[in-house]
Symmetry: C2
């Protein structure tokens, strides 16, 4: 059941990464309202686990928040990519990592009040690190940390990228099973 | 250390809820790039726990994703509000709930690749439900569920609003302590 009826829809702003869609909607009470949505391609978050059972994190400068953030590798899917191809590409570009196995964990909405972006989570196991291929706007360092330390950081709120922390919690059991 | 130098900055689009700021930045390699940021007021997510130790969830239709989502009460802070005042207001408007006590849990970035929004998490205990005050665009139902069922839903990926699921995981220990 869709409680809002969309009467018209148009793109009012766009850039190469996302756009703003402005809908005129009819509310359940019969009134008309304007609803703006940030329209963005789905993205992937990848938890990279090494053969020794350690987790690879990146420490990245984020211009949007003017802060250095602890994160797992992530990035937007290109329109022609499958989710798994996007996850493999981001893992390799950001950490140089190549996994033995990729397991799909699940999905979530990042900010469903304003944006249609879906985050998809993958668990990458048996990851061996190699050379990275960072873009010029990607300022980051790659760290390999003990699993217990990563979950301590997540519980303490030190993994400030919300989707990264959520991804870790959502597959905490799978990670322990995968490396035991 | 800020690796990007902002050379110019202007608002290129705005609506009453957020705007787009377009920065011209100098990258560490000396090149110039354009970086767009969705600029939005901080928001609050509130975990409402009843005196009996149950958790209050809302099941809400989200136009952005055309989907019904399980969530905890949440909303943007108004510029003049404190975080705690915003949390109390959202809890009361969306669920009719009034708490005995509000505890600040922590913060996270929602989508730091494109947006500056910070989410702040509160744990509300001793919550008694009363009449709600939904806005016309807020189509939702309020449910009171056993704590174990809510954490089962979170682990199963059924709480599809990412920040809501993250908030639950981040204060799982505090919730159990608060009601024991």
């Amino acid at each position: 059941m869709t409680p809002f009826k969309t009467k018209s829809s148009r793109i009012v702003w766009s850039c190469p990464w996302y756009s703003i869609r402005q809908d005129e909607i009819e509310l359940p009470n019969g009134e008309t309202a304007v609803y703006n949505t940030v329209v963005k391609e789905a993205a992937v978050w990848i938890i990279p686990v090494t053969p020794a059972g350690e987790i690879i994190l990146i420490h990245q400068y984020r211009h949007t928040v003017d802060d250095w953030c602890w994160e797992i590798p992530a990035g937007s899917k290109k329109p022609e990519q499958t989710l798994e191809a996007a996850a493999l590409a981001e893992l390799r570009e950001e950490t140089g990592g190549v996994p033995d196995q990729m397991t799909y964990v699940g999905q979530f909405y990042l900010a469903n009040g304003i944006c249609n972006e879906i985050g998809h989570i993958f668990l990458a196991t048996g990851v061996e690190l190699g050379p990275t291929a960072h873009e010029a706007t990607e300022v980051m360092a790659v760290h390999t940390l003990p699993m217990a330390e990563v979950f301590r950081m997540a519980r303490a709120g030190e993994i400030t990228d919300g989707p990264s922390a959520l991804a870790l919690f959502l597959c905490e059991n799978e990670i322990h099973t995968a490396v035991s």
